[in-house]
């Protein structure tokens, strides 16, 4: 199987994942006690005209698959329905919020990549205090859930030291960044620890491999060996774990947004779930799942680019 076919197979699987996920998101309407209509209204009493409009928009008198098809087609055109709570287009409501969420996830990803991989590489290449302190530090923080980290960060850095604000989005780009810092750290901290540990292990393992010894025996300078053999080879597992953890940020960011009162997609999702505003929940879920799948696609692309052996079907360890 060539690299091209591997990618094609992965992409097809991911597309299938997307379809299944969207199916689940749509179909959840029918899992609820009562009718699909009552799920959509969230138990609210609406005037008959509005109920009829809902029936129409969701094609509720048509077979299930047809309804799914209409919903999906609409979604792909950017029409995610109307919020029952806010009486506004879901897409419009989501628009401004998406920036906050995207910014937060990107900020956290940056922290994970720079600090996580950076610390891991340093610890992997040099035994000594850098290594020991990284191991200890990551052992503690790897298990720190985001909301716990959020509380500690707020208690220490916002309330005690006053370096960062505790809540809200702020105004203006720089202020936004300042407001997103503690949330980004809270979001990143446990992933950072995991990435650092895996990076360190990968670097250690590659440094001990025989082909590195061959390069040393040929008089190749240490710097080049680190770059071309150790890091280049370790990049494979490092990319995989970083990709996985960044993808997982997409789900957890709802918790962090709520903890810091940020108005992002995640916080809105939670509020909509509490309000039983199904259209909004469905819309945001779909967007988040798409983001999750896109990140996985990027990871697969990088993996294929980095490892020529995958043409064998399964990459060796």
């Amino acid at each position: 199987m060539s690299r091209g076919r591997f990618l094609l197979r992965r992409l097809t699987m991911l597309l299938a994942s997307l379809l299944v996920a969207s199916f689940v998101i749509f179909g959840s309407m029918y899992l609820a006690p009562g009718s699909a209509l009552s799920a959509l209204t969230g138990g609210r009493a609406l005037p008959p005209a509005s109920m009829a409009a809902l029936q129409q928009r969701y094609h509720l008198n048509q077979p299930f698959l047809a309804q799914y098809w209409y919903w999906l087609a609409n979604a792909l055109h950017g029409n995610l329905g109307t919020s029952i709570e806010w009486r506004e287009n879901v897409t419009t409501l989501m628009g401004g919020l998406a920036w906050t969420t995207a910014g937060l996830v990107l900020y956290a990803s940056l922290i994970i990549c720079v600090l996580g991989i950076g610390l891991g590489v340093l610890a992997g290449l040099r035994p000594g205090w850098v290594d020991t302190s990284t191991l200890v530090g990551t052992a503690v923080t790897a298990a720190l859930p985001s909301f716990a980290a959020a509380m500690v960060l707020v208690a220490v850095f916002a309330v005690q030291l006053g370096w960062f604000p505790a809540l809200g989005n702020g105004a203006g780009l720089l202020d936004n960044v300042r407001h997103l810092t503690l949330p980004a750290i809270a979001l990143a901290i446990s992933s950072l620890a995991i990435v650092a540990r895996v990076t360190r292990a990968a670097v250690r393992e590659e440094a001990g491999r025989e082909h590195v010894q061959t390069a040393v025996s040929r008089g190749i300078p240490y710097r080049d060996i680190v770059r071309r053999h150790i890091l280049r080879n370790a990049a494979i597992p490092i990319t995989t774990i970083t990709g996985i953890t960044i993808a997982s940020l997409i789900a957890v960011d709802a918790v962090v947004e709520t903890a810091f009162s940020l108005n992002g997609l995640g916080a809105f999702l939670v509020k909509a779930a509490q309000d039983k505003d199904l259209a909004v929940v469905q819309g945001i879920s779909l967007v988040l799942v798409i983001a999750f799948v896109v990140v996985n696609v990027i990871v697969d692309l990088l993996y294929a680019a980095l490892d020529p052996r995958i043409s064998l079907g399964t990459a060796p360890a």
Partner: protein, 336 residues
Amino acid sequence: MSGAVMNGAAENGAGLLEVSGLTVRLPAGNVLRDIGLSIGPGEALGLVGESGSGKSMTAKAIARLLPPGAVASGSVTFDGRRVFDLPAADLRRYRSEVAMIFQDPRAHINPVRRIGDFMTEALRSQGVAAREATRRACDMLDQVGIADAGRRLRQYPHELSGGMLQRVMIGAALLTRPRLLLADEPTTALDVTTQAEVMAILDELRRSQGLSLLFITHDLELAAAICDRTAVMYAGQIVEARSSDRLHDDPLHPYTAALTAARPDIDRTRTRLRTIPGRPLSAFEAPSSGCAFAARCPHAADACRSSAVPLTELDGGATRCVRAAELRGNLEVADA
């Protein structure tokens, strides 16, 4: 003293590689004890021993590839310069003059880089232009018997067989025009037919380039095939050194005799395979005084166990056996 004794090429002047009194200690214990050998220009020396005898470690010591935590004492001189004292820049030059090839080529070549990268890496780091380096690599692949060199250079290691990879490894090692090649069991991981091909290439290239060779193997006959002289190692020490043909017919050390006898011979019939009683000792387990082989030796006497045995000259070779002179000619053990 052992260096001078071992130098079969004494007529050519000082050897290219001189090792004397080399002792290597790991945290677990001694790995090499008082190793001495010498290789002249264009000469091939075989180093034979079982697993744990320290033969790979000897090569690594010479190549300055000892594992971290290893402490080496004694002297290794290349072309008159002490190898252990070489500063960084000289060390790099040394590494291009002394090349090493390894046992498992698939593990020793980076699997995610192309063959061309692997072969030209050393040249490029010395400042040779990429295109020139590739041209030389192409020529070299032809010389080691790999057809369609241009295409092979662009391939990845997993696309080549073990035999081809070993030829690539040999070719890559020879690209920097080394003067000494350390070959650590290069054919052990290959099947017999490929083994023969690779050995042939190695031998031919060695002769055409006037290369010195340290050939490490566990197979006495294989060493005899291409090496003028052979040294036998046991438990971290050299126990015998002799010209290869005389080693086979007239061994000076009971261990060598036992090794020769244990190898199944296609010309003779036996009812049982000959073995050496007991198991080979690694250097860690060798007794601190007395001959390390004494426990398994059919000719062991009290004198063998009492004190450390030095390597002594005998009839053009060297042996670490106290009773060598008196056992001469009687070491061949009778058929079972």
